[in-house]
């Protein structure tokens, strides 16, 4: 009886929806997700290490969840979004795939690629490109583009969030330990800019090296690295993650570690308990059998943004889509309404401070003020005019 009545119900509901939206025109959208499935970050041993802030899996998963979440609204608006994921393993391949997608009439691209590849893709096409995997500030500054949007928080948003948190704790004397890769040097500079912005004091910036060689112990021994100066907190900059993981509880002084281990600022954590976040994390875990990371949230937000923008349009065209994306007010289950910043295409958002087990706090921290929107205390603000490629 039940199994018989179900399809009938569905047909009925469907026809009612049809009547309700008879005035709205049907629109079909196609989107390509570009990511490098052979990236070392997505290899099984690396995923198993689960370093804080590192991806937990491919971007297509969060993206697909968002489309599934939006099915009801899209059906009601008579809108369809079809998408396919293409794996690209070089900058050139990414650019070519993007150009082909645009030529084939696709109206948007979602990219989970290294920063330089993102730039190449965004320059090669005119359709909206949503970056869900690269936090590099350069993509929001010198390399910004009119058609390039970011749902993943920028590096600087994360360092600002941490700096605000240190201010709120009155942990003002900071010892920084930085890796020596180019990436770490850029991140270390971003972190130090945040320290200056929030009036924190850098007592020393020391390079570290992963090594067991006794001749290099000054660079490798966590006790030696954290002795000889007075500080309230240690800020470790380590994109790789292996060194940072060994640091908490292995320091000379009994001081907390923040940065890339200890307390980390992220766009999402599966243990966030408020604002409907658990429902999202639960849906994700149910579908993909793993905890939702900030990268998953970013690709989920790309899906939410595109489906909301597409649902508001009656004709599927890329320029209208970009305009619609730029005027969205998005609900990302973090309790606030969020927009893509007109000055750099970055999605403003609350950040979560986590030790990996739970959510310790959120940023912007209470008491931080801003003349327009307190979310804009995180990351590059409009008066800084760091992105000149956007109107």
């Amino acid at each position: 009886m039940r199994s018989m009545s179900k399809p009938i119900l569905r047909v009925l509901a469907g026809s009612i929806l049809l009547m309700a939206s008879a005035l709205a025109q049907a629109a079909n959208w196609t989107v390509t997700v570009l990511e490098d499935m052979t990236s070392p970050a997505l290899e099984r041993p690396q995923l198993d290490r689960a370093y804080l802030g590192h991806p937990g899996g491919p971007a297509s998963e969060g993206w697909n969840l968002a489309l599934e979440d939006a099915r009801f609204e899209l059906d009601a608006a008579h809108t369809q979004i079809s998408s396919k994921t293409i794996s690209v393993s070089s900058l050139d391949a990414a650019r070519t795939a993007a150009q082909q997608a645009e030529k084939a009439g696709q109206q948007a691209l979602v990219v989970n690629l290294p920063a330089s590849w993102v730039t190449a893709v965004a320059m090669a096409v005119k359709v909206p490109v949503i970056n869900v995997g690269a936090g590099a500030d350069s993509l929001r500054e010198a390399q910004c583009r009119r058609n390039l949007l970011h749902t993943l928080p920028s590096e600087r948003m994360r360092t600002d969030a941490l700096a605000q948190t240190l201010v709120s704790r009155k942990w003002s004397q900071v010892l920084m330990l930085s890796g020596t890769t180019v990436e770490d040097r850029v991140s270390s500079a971003a972190a130090q800019a945040s320290l200056r912005r929030y009036g924190l004091k850098l007592v020393a910036d020391r390079p570290f090296k992963l090594s067991a060689d006794p001749r290099e112990r000054d660079l490798a021994n966590t006790k030696l690295l954290t002795s000889g100066v007075n500080y309230d907190v240690i800020w470790v900059v380590d994109a790789d993650g292996e060194f940072a993981r060994t640091l908490p509880y292995n320091t000379q002084a009994a001081r907390p570690v923040v940065g890339d281990a200890g307390m980390v600022a992220l766009g999402w954590h599966a243990q966030y308990e408020r604002y409907g976040a658990p429902q999202v994390s639960r849906r994700f875990a149910k579908a993909y059998k793993r905890a939702m990371t900030q990268q998953d949230w970013a690709s989920w937000m790309a899906g939410k943004a595109l489906s909301l923008a597409a649902g508001s349009l009656t004709k599927s065209a890329a320029p209208e889509l970009l305009a619609a994306l730029n005027s969205l007010n998005l609900d990302g289950s973090k309790g606030v309404s969020m927009q893509f910043r007109p000055w750099d295409g970055q999605l403003q958002q609350t950040l979560l401070l986590t030790d990996g087990q739970g959510v310790i706090g959120i940023a912007p921290v209470e008491g931080v003020l801003h003349p327009r929107n307190v979310l804009d205390t995180l990351g590059a603000d409009s008066p800084e005019k760091r992105c000149t490629n956007r109107p």
Partner: protein
């Protein structure tokens, strides 16, 4: 010491007189506590907590059974409703409500529960006596508020993700209409004349007013508060006076309750309460408003005539809903 001993019976006596004089005045507030798996009982005469009632896991929405003899409690982590006898404070039975229920309502005859299931994006129909699921309707993601129409033929459900109110025909179990409202719609109130459905929009910082004749959106009341930004105004709880002249809306992060004149749809007063005020209830004579504050673990009592907060009483951890009983 002596003075205190003497004073206590006098106080009790005068209160006894008071409560018998106002025959239908409620004497107790039941406050569900999400993190304690209990309901906190507040004696309204003494203005303090007198005890707790153990219940199922993560109790959230509560309401009285149609005969007003039982408290019905939705427990999200137990996937069930607890039915608690008001006289004995004991659980009588559990009714399965499907996965992760948050809000429910009951049919006019008390025979069917309608529960929103967040995880499955469904409204479940549940037979109150057998606990059997008799049907379900797929709705937008993260359904929340549930309200049965005064004529008992329709049930309204909000979807937080779809920003819609679904109008569901109870007899056929089908969606009659989807109404687009503000961002993240949460709770309902219906004007006593049965003409308007009010919906709080948490991230829209507004209340949508829907016509119950043709389901069109008649108005969107923007909630504002001097000194607060739109992003800090996150309305949730909603209650209306019996004469339909005034509505009370909690403003979430703005930590205030707004008094709204229903006819003009204008805010007349705003009262500072606790942190993230959530659900609200009115006393029988409507002179007092009870507001539970989700982030300060207390309940504020507001004088509705003077538009002033009288006192805040500490309750359980993460209070969700308040219901007054005799």
């Amino acid at each position: 010491m002596n003075k205190k001993l003497l004073f206590a019976p006098v106080l009790a006596l005068s209160m006894g007189v008071l409560s018998s004089a106002t025959l239908h005045a409620q004497t107790q507030a039941w406050v569900s506590s999400e993190k304690d798996n209990t309901i906190t009982l507040v004696d309204l005469g003494q203005g303090k907590v007198t005890g707790t009632v153990p219940t199922c896991k993560r109790p959230r929405h509560m309401q009285l059974s149609p005969d007003r003899k039982q408290m019905l409690v939705a427990c999200s982590d137990s996937n069930a409703a607890d039915v608690i006898d008001l006289a004995t404070h004991k659980s009588v039975r559990r009714v399965p409500l499907g996965d992760s229920p948050e809000i429910f309502d009951v049919s006019l005859d008390g025979k069917t529960f309608f529960a929103s299931n967040e995880d499955d994006a469904e409204l479940s129909f549940i037979d109150a006596s057998s606990g059997k699921k008799t049907g379900q309707v797929k709705v937008g993601k993260e359904p929340e508020g549930v309200k049965v129409s005064p004529d008992g033929q329709t049930v309204f459900v909000t979807s937080e993700v779809a920003s819609m109110v679904h109008v569901i025909d109870i007899a056929t179990k089908t969606i009659k209409k989807n109404i687009l409202v503000g961002k993240r719609p949460r709770r309902f109130a219906i004007t006593p004349n049965g003409q308007e459905l009010w919906v709080s929009n948490e991230l829209g910082a507004s209340v949508s007013v829907i016509s119950l004749k043709d389901y069109s959106v008649l108005a969107t009341i923007a909630l504002q508060l001097k000194g607060a930004r739109e992003s800090d105004i996150t309305p949730i709880g909603l209650v209306m006076t019996q004469d339909g002249k005034r509505a009370y809306v909690t403003m979430g992060r703005a930590n205030h309750v707004a008094f709204i004149d229903v006819a003009s749809r204008k805010i007349t007063d705003q009262v500072l309460v606790g942190k993230r005020p959530w659900s609200v209830a009115l006393s029988a004579d409507e002179s007092k408003l009870y507001v539970v504050n989700g982030l300060s673990d207390d309940m504020t009592i507001v004088d509705t005539v003077k538009a002033r907060a009288l006192v805040s009483i500490p309750v359980g951890r993460v209070p969700h809903t308040v219901v007054l009983t005799n």
